[in-house]
């Protein structure tokens, strides 16, 4: 999808030397903002594809190798989250600038550090929920409302495994094992996080299937309990 050239010009104009309209942070002085912005834009230019004007998968590959972070690393997903990128594998200039500005990163080194910091910061419950939901939507293709099982499992691994390693492992095993569902929807996805937060694991003693847990989790608990006996 080709972003229109008009948009870039418009953005460049607004991001220009008129510092007061571009900044939202009253404590930043006008001059450092505009220099930061410039650097961010330069960075964007390094990875953007010439014909489309956006950073495409190839550009992301180079970015990843430049900051020595694998593209399946959670930090890349965090980057996408901060940029609020709409489409997996692509960053528009607007998105890029929004993200890096929020991270206060105008060099690769700063970016890498910011992302690592972000990894810890995202663990706060409110942030994490936001990130977690975003991760799902990010993986949706076009007008789809579900993601396939394999992608779902990979995503769980990236996003959830560090905080809830044992639950994630078992969940992934179950999802691959069961036949009832061929895709995962947003409601189920949200359910997984809630499950990890609220339910004792591996005892599962406070799980009540008569409540509104998604059916896939009811099946998961049944499966777990059967194997425990």
């Amino acid at each position: 999808m080709r972003r229109s050239a008009n948009r870039r010009t418009v953005l460049q104009k607004s991001i220009g030397l008129n510092s007061s309209s571009a900044t939202s942070d009253p404590y930043r002085s006008g001059r450092s903002v505009s220099k930061e912005m410039e650097n961010i834009e330069i960075l964007f230019g390094n990875y953007a594809d010439i014909s489309s004007g956006d950073i495409e998968p190839a550009g992301i590959e180079s970015l990843c190798s430049d900051i020595s972070i694998s593209h399946t690393d959670v930090r890349m997903l965090l980057l996408a989250w901060k940029t609020k990128a709409k489409r997996q594998g692509y960053f528009s200039q607007y998105e890029w600038c929004r993200g890096l500005k929020a991270l206060r990163a105008d060099t690769l080194a700063k970016l890498k550090k910011a992302l690592s910091d972000l990894e810890k910061e995202v663990r706060s419950p409110q942030n994490f929920l936001d990130f977690y939901s975003y991760a799902f939507r990010y993986c949706l293709a076009d007008i789809q409302k579900n993601i396939d099982l394999e992608t779902a499992c990979e995503l769980l691994n990236i996003v959830l495994a560090s905080q809830f390693p044992s639950q994630t492992k078992k969940l992934i095993e179950f999802i691959k094992f069961q036949h009832e569902y061929k895709v995962i929807n947003m409601d189920q996805w949200t359910g997984f996080l809630r499950f990890c937060n609220e339910i004792n694991f591996p005892s599962l003693d406070n799980y009540d299937s008569t409540l509104a847990w998604p059916l896939i989790l009811d099946n998961f608990v049944e499966w777990m309990l059967e194997r425990q006996n």
């Binding site: 189920q188 359910g191 008569t210 059916l215």
Partner: protein, 744 residues
């Protein structure tokens, strides 16, 4: 005589005179030889009192006379009555007491008459107790208070003797107890406190002792007989000599000691308790059990529980019996509802009849037992047999009754009766929608292949189903029946049309039945390649139908058609009745002598399944119209077929049935699909009206709404909720994921 001046009567003087009268009265009461009072005597006595009360002060002696009246009683009682009572005991004492009381009442009556003037004005003016009350109080205070405990104990002893079988003087007791009542002068406190309470306790003790023995020695029926007898006797006792107000208290005590205390032991007696009685069909004993236990609080609860367990066990045993019989079936017949299953349904009906009679007769139509019966049947009526659900079994049972050759031996009434009972059984089945679908499929076959035995019965059962399950249940089926009627009318119009348009003649007699799609089960219509002869038929009818209505689309279902073909065999020509599929295959042999399986299939344009089935029916079954090479029992794709000109039969006309495809799987699939829609619709309906609702309540209301047709599975409901969330009908509440909101 001069009225204004009377001679003043002096108190002493006047009392002297009165005393004579009192003494006379006492003598009469004591049975002495004393002449009766004459009216003159009475007048004098009365007048003396009158005068003494109406004299001017200080000679108005009302108060003194009032006191002396009382004293008269007190003297008499203390000097004569008490001593005579004290020297007697037991029954003699009781007799004496009765006699003395009667005497006393007489004395009060007479003396009150003499002293009547006091009653008129004096007592009212001074708010004093009236004369009769004074008299009775004397007896009460001097005699009754002294003696009532002894009396009570004697009476109770006599009662216990009577219980043990002795003859006692009942009228004596009646009179004695009359005293307890009368001495209360208007209220029953004396009777209750001084007699009844102790009598009731004694009774309780008596029966408690008896019960301790009986419960060990006697069987349940014998014990109950005794209990019933005891209750009867105690009731008689009340009517013989106790006061009627004692009845309830007395019977309650007896019931408590004999029944409440030992209820469980009695009901659960090993070989004679409730279970055993039910097992051995002891109707009389069970009726007695009901009569006895219905009187104690919650007495019927355990009885109804045992009844429910028993019926459930009997029903479950029938299910197991049927399962065992079915396990001996040949594997290829496994899926077909066979004879044993029909027998099973009959037995269930008989079981229902039997225990419904129990509920109506032994248990006097009590709602607890109706409920127990219902719950019991709900348990085992929902168990299938040999892979067939109870819904299917019931539908097949109906089909067998309603189709030709099904129950010709039964009278119309018997059939009606059976249908009535089957519909009643349906109430216990939770998958009513499954029954409806199976029934509809079989009804379709009966109607379309003219297999229905009796139109009236068909309509009658639909009416019964409608009454039980509502109009929606039967609307499609009724539509089907109506379609057939309309089809006949349509056919008449069609024939007229053909008569009027000679060029429209298809050359074959054609009958078309037009069905309204919504009413009938869904049929797949395959693109059968019709033989040329039939193609014209279809065209002609299409043209005719266009003249009747332009807005409808006709879809031809050849799988349901029937054909009469004339087979020109060597021996003799024969009429063969087959389905359209079979006819199409046979007509191919008019053009070729030999055809391979592949050729037949490609020419007919049918599926393998259909081709195998129809070729089998024509070459491997009873009537071999086609010769098959090789002549094995099964059809294989390499077979070759030839017209069997040598075929013949003693009949001129034969019918070659095409066994129907097993509909079971499709029916179950269709019903599952309908259920998904029904659950969706129910959830949306509920959420639309409630706007916000928590999960458990939503599930509960959904189950209730759908309960008339089927019991939705919790998981199924959850799945539909999830689907509706994905389709943006509902969303979870942000704060509480257990609550759903309706999205307009």
């Amino acid at each position: 005589m001069a009225s204004s001046e009377r001679k003043t009567i002096d108190l002493e003087q006047g009392w002297d005179f009165m005393q004579k009268g009192i003494t006379k009265l006492k003598n009469i009461l004591e049975g002495e030889a004393e002449p009766q009072f004459r009216s003159n005597d009475y007048m004098m006595l009365y007048t003396t009192i009158y005068n003494m009360c109406t004299q001017k002060p200080p000679h108005d002696y009302s108060q003194q006379l009032y006191d002396k009246y009382r004293e008269a009683f007190q003297d008499y009682i203390t000097s004569m009555v008490l001593p005579s009572l004290r020297e007697k005991h037991d029954e003699f004492m009781l007799r004496e007491l009765v006699k003395r009381w009667e005497n006393h009442k007489l004395m009060v009556r007479w003396l009150s008459r003499f002293f009547y003037y006091l009653d008129r004005y004096f007592i009212a003016r001074r708010s004093l107790p009236p004369l009769y009350e004074v008299g009775y109080s004397c007896f009460r205070d001097l005699v009754y208070q002294d003696i009532n405990v002894k009396v009570r104990d004697s009476v109770i002893k006599l009662i216990d003797n009577e219980r043990e079988g002795e003859q006692i003087d009942r009228s004596l007791l009646k009179n004695v107890l009359g005293i307890f009542v009368e001495i209360g002068m208007g209220n029953m406190t004396s009777y209750e406190n001084d007699f009844e309470t102790e009598m009731a306790n004694d009774t309780a003790g008596y029966y408690s002792r008896k019960a301790t023995n009986w419960i060990v020695e006697d069987s349940c029926p014998d014990y109950m007989l005794k209990a019933e007898e005891c209750l009867k006797r105690e009731k008689e006792r009340v009517s013989n000599y106790l006061h009627s107000s004692s009845e309830q208290k007395l019977l309650e005590k007896v019931q408590h000691e004999l029944l409440s205390v030992y209820a469980s032991q009695l009901l659960e007696k090993e070989n004679s308790g409730c279970h055993a009685l039910l097992r051995d069909d002891k109707v009389d004993d069970l009726s007695r059990m009901y009569r006895l236990f219905c009187k104690i609080t919650r007495g019927l609860d355990p009885v109804s529980q045992i009844f429910k367990q028993h019926v459930t066990a009997e029903g479950t045993a029938l299910v197991k019996q049927a399962e065992d019989a079915a396990s001996h079936k040949k594997p290829e017949k496994r899926d077909i509802v066979g004879l044993q299953e029909q027998v099973f349904v009959r037995k269930i009906i008989e079981l229902h009849d039997k225990y419904m009679t129990y509920v109506n007769d032994c248990f006097q139509n009590h709602s607890l037992f109706h409920k127990a019966l219902k719950e019991a049947f709900e348990v085992f009526c929902n168990k299938g047999v040999a892979g067939s659900s109870s819904a299917e079994l019931l539908a097949t049972f109906c089909d067998n009754i309603l189709k030709k050759g099904g129950s010709e031996k039964l009278s119309d009434e018997a059939i009606e009766d059976t249908l009535e009972k089957v519909v009643k059984l349906l109430a216990y089945i939770s998958d009513k929608d499954l029954f409806a679908e199976f029934y509809r499929k079989k009804l379709a076959r009966r109607l379309l292949f003219d297999k229905s035995a009796n139109d009236d019965h068909e309509r009658s059962i639909l009416t019964k189903l409608k009454q039980q399950c509502g109009g929606q249940f039967t609307s499609k089926m009724e539509g089907m029946v109506t379609d057939l009627t309309l089809a006949r009318e349509n056919q008449t119009s069609f024939e007229e049309y053909l008569n009027n348009n000679s060029n429209a003649n298809p050359g074959i007699d054609l009958t078309v039945t037009v069905l309204t799609t919504g009413f009938w089960p869904s049929y797949k219509s395959f693109d059968l390649n019709l033989p040329a002869e039939m193609v014209k038929c279809v065209e002609v009818f299409k043209e005719f139908y266009q003249t009747k209505t332009k807005h409808r689309k006709l879809t031809w279902i050849y799988s349901l058609g029937t054909c009469n073909i004339i087979g020109k065999f060597d021996a003799k020509p024969m009429d063969i009745i087959v389905t359209t599929y079979q006819a199409s295959a046979l007509l191919l042999f008019n053009l070729s002598d030999r055809l391979s399986y592949a050729e037949i299939m490609s020419q007919l344009n049918l599926t393998d399944d259909d081709v195998v089935r129809l070729l089998h029916s024509l070459s491997c079954a009873k009537y071999k119209i086609l010769k098959k090479e090789p002549s094995t029992k099964a059809i294989t794709p390499t077979d070759v077929f030839e017209f069997n000109s040598k075929f013949t039969d003693k009949m001129r006309r034969i019918k070659i049935p095409l066994p129907p495809v097993d509909e079971k799987k499709k029916v179950i699939e269709d019903v599952d699909k309908d259920r998904r829609y029904a659950i969706d619709a129910s959830i949306v309906r509920i959420m639309k009206s409630r706007k916000v609702l928590d999960h458990q309540q939503l599930v509960m209301e959904c189950v209730e709404q759908l309960g008339r047709m089927f019991k939705p599975d919790f998981k199924a409901i959850k799945k539909r909720i999830e689907d509706l969330i994905t389709r943006d009908y509902l969303e979870r509440d942000k704060e509480n994921p257990n609550i759903f909101r309706y999205l307009a």
